[in-house]
Symmetry: C2
Subunit: 474 residues, 2 copies
Amino acid sequence: MSDPASLSRLIEIVGERNALRDPADMAPYLREWRDLYVGKTPVVLRPGSREEVSQILAHANAHGLKIVPQGGNTGLVGGQIPDDSATEIVISLSRMNKVREIDAAGFSMTVEAGCTLQAIHDAAEAADRMFPLTLGSQGSCQIGGNIATNAGGTAVLAYGNTRELVLGLEVVLPDGSIMEGLRSLRKDNTGYDLKQIFIGSEGTLGVITAAVLKLFPLPRERDVAFVGLSSPEAALELFSTARGRAGAMLTGFELMPRVGLEFTLRHLDGTRDPLQAPSPWYALVELSSGTESGDEQAPTRALMEAILGEAFEAGLVEDAALAESGAQAADFWRLRHGLSEVQREEGGSIKHDVSVPVASVPAFLAEAIAAVEAKVPGCRPVPFGHMGDGNIHFNVSQPVGADKAAFIAGWDDMNKVVHDIVQRYGGSISAEHGIGRLKRDLLAEVKSPVELEMMRRIKQAFDPNGILSPGRVL
Amino acid sequence: MSDPASLSRLIEIVGERNALRDPADMAPYLREWRDLYVGKTPVVLRPGSREEVSQILAHANAHGLKIVPQGGNTGLVGGQIPDDSATEIVISLSRMNKVREIDAAGFSMTVEAGCTLQAIHDAAEAADRMFPLTLGSQGSCQIGGNIATNAGGTAVLAYGNTRELVLGLEVVLPDGSIMEGLRSLRKDNTGYDLKQIFIGSEGTLGVITAAVLKLFPLPRERDVAFVGLSSPEAALELFSTARGRAGAMLTGFELMPRVGLEFTLRHLDGTRDPLQAPSPWYALVELSSGTESGDEQAPTRALMEAILGEAFEAGLVEDAALAESGAQAADFWRLRHGLSEVQREEGGSIKHDVSVPVASVPAFLAEAIAAVEAKVPGCRPVPFGHMGDGNIHFNVSQPVGADKAAFIAGWDDMNKVVHDIVQRYGGSISAEHGIGRLKRDLLAEVKSPVELEMMRRIKQAFDPNGILSPGRVL
């Protein structure tokens, strides 16, 4: 427990109203939505400015207090939840939630760390622009957390990970000094690109307080198809056909198995199967265009029809439905995005967030499905996700009627089976969710001693006292 | 001078044949093409493998020898040329020039650092893929140098800087240890993204020996227009129109002034003005598409006509020529790329490689042109470059008939005038060329003490003995 004088000073910095100590007030900050992590903290601080963040860190650094920054509390690896010791102090950035500026002509916007991703989408769209980062949790996740974890999502294929979408960052360092880097330049080779060090560092090197983001033209047309396929091999061929024909206009390519669609249809209100007969696999294909169609048929529609026509002729596709309206396109996307939340309705689910080279996805899936079915007979693999990026959420639901706790107790063993296969394909055991606390012990297995030593040197260079997000990543 | 025993050991590592000591053999490595930097070295080492690079660095680190890595020797800020002390040892990566693998289905390729950019383009194209990085020097520059300097060029608008095009890196660290990071994953959030630290670090933190690069679909159609404009303001409006209509299909938007076109027409064989009457400014606009046109009219052509039609109606455009063939498109591009080399035919030229927010380009140009003309009456500003990125090569040619040496003597003074204006627009004094030796003293003026301290800590963490590219950047 921190000493009372130190704590009083922190409370003084943010003001009593913004220092939560009542258990009911603190509860939302101490538990993540799947209940996999629940922790304790002496106080939740809600600073209102970068100066307050700076004073908090300077004080913590001088007195050896541990700090855990938190955004929208949607992280999946436990990084944002304090541990059980009740010594880690939570800083929530949620009060710093202003969109400071939109430069439509310059295709950029400046936002504070606590802006929700949805608020950023809305503000960009109001200026006839698009911020492409798209996640299932976008109503509650915050951009500071998105940047700190280099979030992925469904738009990476065309627009890149969060790293590629950041032009400038303002960061408070562990000693309280402020890196003022809110530049909106497309090109700037003056020295080391310091913002890169904080993107994806999961709150271990500094606290992001504001960012300049890249904007894009708002697509004038979008076409979405829901496609039934016989196998992941067919999905890969369809992906190659679509990418070859559509190039940068291919803005989404998501894979899901029949069992995943069944979960969504069973547990999510107002959903229906877009196709008449079941297929073993499905792809959701999205094309977007910056060109205006006027009264004519949209070029994305013609292009989609050409892609699917070629795929039908080649025998790749079993059936396909094209969204006839924006509402229907949203329905198709809901079948995919809804999958994240419905899995818990089917009992225990052991998660893997992995990536392999795109061309290896089918072989990886065949091998991993066989391996987990051999390990736990009757288990239900639900591998879905961003096929175009080689990123599969290889989740496995418990056998129907099995004991949830007993199934979940096999988490680490099943992880090992899957991760070993991932490693053989040169893949990643954390494609987009990060390391946090969940995968910290695995890091040494997948990184070389040289890489681990470099990470430690960076941590030492930026946070020599180890006050920020201790026990996360390293 | 290094002691002879130490030198013998280095020569032993690469073998006599690959250790150049004859002045004639060494000359091409000791002088850059504009003669702005000429240096001395005891030996030019040409290692043939990463193991040899590792042995060289380990030895140098143990004995305090200084090392300067060099790629194609096309850098513009003196980073790759040893100083006058004859103690800095040049390592040329040019023997390590193999394309190791092309994964067409996975849209990636693995190359050694010494591959020329042109060889990479050719290999990708042979596999029906494109590597987008495009520079005037691509016949001789090498990918290791491109990555070490985070090179920009004319394709940044659609595909990003070199940083965005790198999936994995193999780097030899100053102590000789090897970071094996040749991963081809689109998404990998396992710990800090170490490759980012080396990209753009200008050879001061490690020696890049190989890389995995992103590939893209080879565009099926390209359309290029050469457009006469009354002002940079009109160019900015044309850019907004084009980007809004074409989105990701807008793959080039370059600006040049009349005087620049005149230089090219005067000094480059086989060039001609595509337009009948002169305009004060020109834009080169390129659209690319992944879609196949078959026999029909290309969609890029229809889109280009729509963009130019709208711009004519709005009074933005004075005249425009559309390339009717690939050869003519190449001719248009040659007018722009040729500009880099023809400036020297017009006497002294003082260079600035600056960027400002895209929307500020016209105001910046008006102010900077007026300022340099007031400073040196009769001088000829030739500001050209990547308008879509806000990156202008604000070069200034000497007055006709003036003394070259006297004009060049005013280099630093003119830099100061221009850079002060850049700073007021929140811009960068080195958009794509880097800092090297040329702008090292300027860095402290444009970076905050916090940023400089962070850079020093990184240098200290990776190269504590300061053996790599000393006096560059920091």
